[in-house]
């Protein structure tokens, strides 16, 4: 049972880590748009 919980926790952390990475990429795309706009302006 203890091992199971450890496994679940590991899985949860892995999920959150991956989600954060994708989220940061998304925010990066958002920021990139202002760079584009500013360069053209």
């Amino acid at each position: 049972m203890g091992e199971d919980r450890g496994e679940a926790e590991r899985k949860r952390r892995s999920n959150v880590r991956l989600a954060l990475v994708i989220g940061i990429v998304a925010v990066g795309f958002y920021g990139l748009m202002f760079v584009t706009g500013w360069l053209r302006w």
Partner: protein, 529 residues
């Protein structure tokens, strides 16, 4: 499969593990099935609302002259119809399918991030409350088209910041939803479920989710710059201040073209599940379907300027975007040929989901043909911004994306409710929808070719006849959707008990679960061959 027996044993007492009673269940739920249902119900309400706006448009276009609305309100109708249908109806419906089906198809107990899942959904009602509130504001709703081109959109009044904030919320919702889907697919598959064993629906959603993560922030950035141009003195898109109004169009369509694939790819996936089932034959060319989907997704990022051939690009630019756009026909063609080959020498039956899937393949292909014609720049100069374009994108989005969604609903409804829907009514819904939708949109090709621009409330008398035909189709198609609501309600309330497999040709993990699927499924991962 062992998983199936485990859950059959649980079936009788699943109420003990089931949802909390009462309304709060839906507010606080972190269950992927509940959230899937919420998305689907919400999207259907938005479909009806967007449909009512469309009927307002078709009523005004019934005959030349102005009868019902003034031109400014007409522009509000076209703008809001598009925003509601794109962000409120089609996208949430496909997310609803993802929530319901992906965990069941890959043998996962739930989505990877259930609380974020809840939040993703509950942002939407608030986003649309904001957007719809603009109808009651001084100056009314946004009226510059869903493409929100400056400088026109900046002439809008109080509605602009509300619409932009609503778009931000929708964007956050779909990016969070996509993150959840990507993480679920990459991290939560049952042992043995390798990527190339996943059902095609899961593949199309994985690719869609990546498109969303890349495209929605781009749109959010573009509308934020509109906001600062309007209220904070920047001139990103104002020529007078040294900015560039065309830049907005480039950014918008850099988002906008992937967006159309975001709407269609999940339906590709649904159809790729339905056709093999009712052909009683495996999907033809599974791997090439995956590669074709990925190629379409890649190409969608390098074709955006075909939406703006008349904007005055250099010749080299026009040629580049013409060639890349034409290239999309190759992977799309592969998909269509594979679907046809799946049916070929099968043992076909024509239940409602199959009818919708076949209609999808044929009518989407017609939309693809007009898309190919639109790619040819010399004739696009004539087609651009006419009803030919309106006909084209309604063929791919209504008879494409929406018909795919209908196919999916009829296909999985017995799995969701445990009851078979009324097949006779389902067929009525199919035939009425298919006939009326073609009366609605096919004449719009003629109108566009004859020279009718889009987004006009009133037209020269030579366009009167086809417009009236189109309006007749519009009202027929709209009313037919009430029948859809009735069929689904009836199925939820009862009907012939569905078996686990539901369809005799069905194949995949979701069909190993009892019908209706228990509240919690695959808490112990199934074994995948």
């Amino acid at each position: 499969m062992s998983a199936a027996t485990t859950h059959d044993a649980h079936h009788d007492d699943h109420h003990h593990h089931g949802p909390d009673p009462g309304v709060l269940r839906w507010v606080f739920t972190t269950n992927h099935k509940d959230i899937g249902t919420l998305y689907l119900v919400f999207s259907f309400l938005m479909l009806l609302l967007g449909g009512v706006l469309a009927l307002g448009i078709r009523a005004e276009l019934w005959s030349p002259g102005l009868q019902f609305v003034d031109p400014d309100f007409f522009n509000q109708l076209t703008t809001m119809h598009a925003l509601i249908m794109v962000f409120g109806a089609i996208m949430p419906a496909t997310v609803g399918f993802a929530n319901w089906m992906i965990p069941m198809m890959i043998g996962a107990p739930d989505m990877a991030l259930p609380r974020m899942n809840n939040w993703s959904f509950w942002l939407l009602p608030f986003a649309f409350a904001l957007l719809l509130a603009t109808f009651f504001m001084e100056g009314g709703a946004p009226a510059a088209g869903w493409t929100l081109y400056p400088p026109l959109v900046l002439q809008g009044g109080a509605n602009l910041p509300f619409a932009i904030f609503a778009i931000h919320l929708m964007g956050i919702s779909s990016v969070m939803g996509s993150i959840n889907i990507i993480v679920t697919i990459l991290n939560m598959r049952a042992p043995g479920m390798t990527l190339l064993k996943m059902p095609l629906f899961v593949w199309t959603w994985l690719i869609t989710a990546f498109l969303l993560v890349a495209a929605m922030p781009v749109f959010a950035g573009a509308v934020t710059m509109l906001l600062t141009d309007k209220f904070f003195g920047t001139s990103f898109f104002s020529a007078a201040g040294g900015g560039d109004p065309v830049l907005f169009q480039h950014i918008f369509w850099f988002f906008g073209h992937p967006e159309v694939y975001i709407m269609i790819l999940p339906s590709f996936g649904i159809v790729s599940q339905v056709l093999p089932t009712f052909s009683r034959k495996p999907l033809f060319g599974y791997e090439s379907m995956v590669y074709a989907t990925a190629s379409i997704a890649f190409l969608s990022f390098i074709v955006w300027a075909h939406h703006m051939f008349t904007v005055g690009m250099p010749l080299a630019g026009e040629l580049f975007f013409m060639y890349t756009t034409m290239l999309i026909a190759v992977p799309t063609g592969v998909k269509v040929f594979n679907w046809a080959a799946t049916m070929w020498r099968g043992s076909l039956t024509f239940e409602t989901p199959m009818l919708y899937a076949i209609a999808f393949v044929i009518l989407f292909t017609i939309g693809g043909f007009s898309g190919l014609m639109l790619a040819i720049v010399p004739s696009d100069f004539q087609y651009h911004d006419t009803y030919f374009v309106v006909a084209h994108f309604h063929y791919v989005l209504v008879t494409g994306a929406l018909f795919g969604i209908f196919a999916g609903v009829f296909y999985w409804l017995p799995k969701w409710t445990g009851n078979m829907y009324d097949e006779r009514l389902g067929k009525w819904h199919f035939w009425l929808s298919t006939i009326f939708v073609n009366i609605l949109f096919f004449p719009q090709h003629f109108l566009g070719l004859a020279g009718m621009p889009r987004r006009i409330p009133d037209y020269a008398v030579q366009f009167a006849d086809w417009n009236m035909v189109s309006s007749i189709g519009g009202f027929g198609f709209g009313l037919t959707q009430l029948l859809f609501a009735w069929i689904v309600l009836k199925c939820c309330r009862g009907g012939k008990q569905a078996t686990s497999e539901v369809w005799d040709g069905s194949d995949g993990l979701e069909w190993t679960l009892p019908s209706p699927a228990p509240y919690h499924t695959f808490e112990t991962p199934p074994a995948v061959r």
